[in-house]
Symmetry: C2
DNA sequence: CTGAAAGCGCTAACAG
DNA sequence: CTGTTAGCGCTTTCAG
């Protein structure tokens, strides 16, 4: 910047003013400076600027796994909302291991970003103490914390309730849950929360909680496939399957296809997450669509309030995103084809 | 750091040595420093370190769209390879618009990262001049450049050749290409390159290039679906469809399902990219699997060679990744179910 | 509208 | 093994 200033015959400060588009620079001066910049191939040094300004203009988004369609959706929305507030988003993959998340928090303290949106999957309650630094963090995901913290979660239980009710309304009485889990009362990961909604719907309608119809399995396609093969052999039979995620549901549809079981005629299937490919499965997948966009917006807003000190340090917010039913062919009365 | 040093009764430099794990610090001193750090809640300031060191330890990965399964795969591999070299990866979404890519390049020059892996989709040849700064960039993607540059591309033409040959070997003679494009000779995006491989296979086997069997369409599910609906009404009939991407293929399978056309019995379908969900479609999707991992590895290696000055400034590399056939049910002789 | 001075927090280099 | 010095490149502040 010094070199540019010398070349343009101005002070470094003027170069800075030009680079930052400050208004009070005479047109002729600006032109000379820009010319000098071009001639010298000068580029602003971000590290120096950040050091001086004490901010980076970047929000970090830490997610567990790039190759999950759900995170792709979310990241896109977060980036868009942040841009609207003048922030850039950089995404970091932290892996599903707990160490990764703790790592991300530790690194975030290095102030590489102005703040962090942490999409937690495996972060245990006891780690939340780490989040209690003054560093601005918003946690997204299905885990609740006893420590106060800004948190955006999904309407998991309500969504699962809606999905299961929908199956019941369509006449299903022997409804399996693939990817569920009977956890401890304070256990609130995706599986346990969605299981609660499922059980509430059954109770509501006076349907027995038959043993063996809640299958615990990893929440991906293969988990769904193998569990579906198992569940259709349940002695009491099955006429509806609620899958804890769309990926699980895709694996389930696959298993039923392999066995020649017709969906929705023989068994109805519903998922959760509304990943895009669900419109194109055969049959297309009924599902619960969380308000991804609203949640991304909320997370960004909470973080930016923090960054700008718009909220007292010790005041935290808990936001639960909405969810709505997306009814497609896999829960139709009978197949349209 | 000064405060920590004062508290621990040492010089700032010693604090730095402790923080960075340098070996020559007495155990007692280290302990005192760590204690002071904990007491004061001190955190290293990354901006200052980067300014001083002239490096950030971060590689940027600019991709066009988070919500594409292919990019998720790639990003995961890139992150892993970079970590092996002691670099962290931050991912930036730049959108599919050309402006976005130029933007990313411009911003990259701000030296936010030590180097950039740019996965281009719409970057035109004329923009490649922008890449000719001394800033370390590796371009990935299906576009070639006349300007010299480090470039990792995919074996698109060979992959398409293999896919189409495979359909022919399975007895198809009326083979459509959905998502293809007859471009200018120097036009080398995904669609045109894959079209070339397709045409070569037809020529090889003396099969006519029937009019109307190459359909240009956006490379996503809906593009595949609507084009498939159109192509099956082709007067000459169709017995095989090569889809330019797996997403297109998923849309195609969907359209055939809607029409009650059996795959593979009536029409065989093959895709390209090997996205994970392709194993779970009904029928499962035969496809071309590019060596994603090898390409990610190559890109990281090229970039790090640059960062470390292991290669003369004016020496550039062009690496083409391999591809292999993944044969599943959608091109079987007849359905196993 | 432009400039001079000062310092953000860190670490390379070298001295003790 | 520990300390001193200096400066990375920028922008805030205040003075012209």
């Amino acid at each position: 910047m010094q070199d540019v200033a010398r070349r343009a015959g101005v002070a470094p400060m003027t170069v800075s003013n030009v680079v930052n588009g400050h208004p009070h620079v005479r047109e002729a001066t600006r032109a000379r400076v820009l010319e000098a910049i071009a001639e010298l191939g000068y580029h602003l040094n971000t590290a120096a600027r950040s050091l001086r300004q004490g901010r980076t203009g970047v929000i970090g988004l830490a997610i567990s796994d790039f190759s999950n369609a759900y995170f792709g959706l979310l990241a896109g929305f977060v980036a868009e909302r942040a841009a609207a507030h003048g922030y850039e988003v950089l995404v970091e993959q932290i892996g599903q291991r707990r160490e990764g998340e703790v790592d991300a928090i530790a690194r975030s303290r290095l102030r590489k970003f102005d703040g962090l949106i942490l999409h937690s999957t495996e972060l245990a309650d006891r780690d939340s103490a780490m989040l209690r630094s003054s560093y601005p963090i918003v946690v997204m995901g299905e885990r609740a914390y006893s420590d106060p913290i800004d948190h955006v979660s999904m309407g998991n239980e309500d969504g699962a309730l809606m999905a299961t009710r929908h199956l019941i309304e369509r006449g299903c009485r022997r409804i399996a849950l693939i990817g569920g889990r009977h956890g401890a009362p304070d256990d609130i990961d995706v599986s346990t929360q969605r299981t609660r909604g499922y059980l509430r719907a059954l109770d509501e309608h006076g349907i027995d909680r038959s043993n063996g119809l809640v299958l615990e399995t990893p929440l991906h396609c293969e988990g769904g496939r193998s569990s579906a093969h198992a569940v259709v052999e349940h002695p009491g039979g099955v006429d509806g399957i609620f899958c804890a995620t769309d990926e699980v549901a895709i694996g389930t549809l696959r298993a039923l296809y392999e066995r020649g079981i017709r969906v929705p005629n023989d068994i109805k299937v519903i998922g959760f997450d509304a990943i895009p490919v669900g419109s194109y499965t055969a049959p297309s997948l009924s599902t619960v669509e969380p308000d991804h966009e609203g949640m991304a917006d909320a997370a960004v807003r909470l973080l930016i309030e923090r960054l700008q000190g718009d909220r007292p340090e010790d005041e935290y917010r808990e936001i639960v995103g909405g969810a709505r039913l997306l009814i497609r062919e896999s829960t139709a009365v009978s197949s349209p084809f």
